[in-house]
């Protein structure tokens, strides 16, 4: 299955695009998606360990299985305010 990963801030800038499509097996964990995102998009290497992931507007932990999720957000630590 294909997961669309939306990128923000420095992640978007490094990748040069606002989303990337990552081909993954169904039931992948967030930790595994992080790894595959680095393979698909090597420009994110320096930022990869710092990225936070979100599904349906909620943060998700490393162990979370993505199930049939088709859209994930990935971004470095926030700095609003």
């Amino acid at each position: 299955m294909n997961v669309t990963v939306r990128l923000f801030a420095r992640a978007r800038e490094l990748a040069g695009q606002s989303e990337v499509c990552v081909n993954v097996p169904e039931g992948l964990t967030v930790a595994e998606l992080r790894h595959r995102l680095g393979q698909t998009c090597p420009e994110l290497k320096s930022l990869l360990p710092h990225l936070m992931f979100a599904v349906d507007n909620e943060y998700v932990s490393e162990a979370r299985c993505l199930g049939p999720t088709v859209e994930v957000a990935a971004f470095p630590p926030v700095s609003g305010g």
């Binding site: 923000f8 801030a9 420095r10 710092h50 979100a54 926030v78 700095s79 609003g80």
Partner: protein, 146 residues
Amino acid sequence: MIELTHDPIDYTQLTERVRSDQAGAVVLFLGTVREMTGSRQTLALDYDAYPEMALAQMQRLVEDIQQRWPVTGVAISHRLGHLELGDISVAAAVSSPHRAQAFEAGRFLIDELKVRVPIWKKENWADGSTEWVHPGVPSTAPAEQE
């Protein structure tokens, strides 16, 4: 009231929204674009957001506050886009019967907003470089800067 806006924030309107005959205290916090960070000089900031999630997380934050303190009203407005020195980037207003609650809830609101709401700022330094601010992540090397 929770909003993201590209226009200047009208904090008076925001504050009026939380005023109430049941409140004895209102605390308004404004975040403004500061020129100096240590010895580095800022010319401007650009704010970007993941809007759907930012609004959802701000709503969750308001609900968390309503559970912890007997607040009468809560309102948040965050600006996005290009901000000049002195501009207001965020305004947050809380009202409550007594002042301790309003100060505590207001402080909690802005502290939590800064760690959980997906909004990011990019520094426009006086030396001409730009840099996304990501707490805990090493600064970009000059070659990585746009």
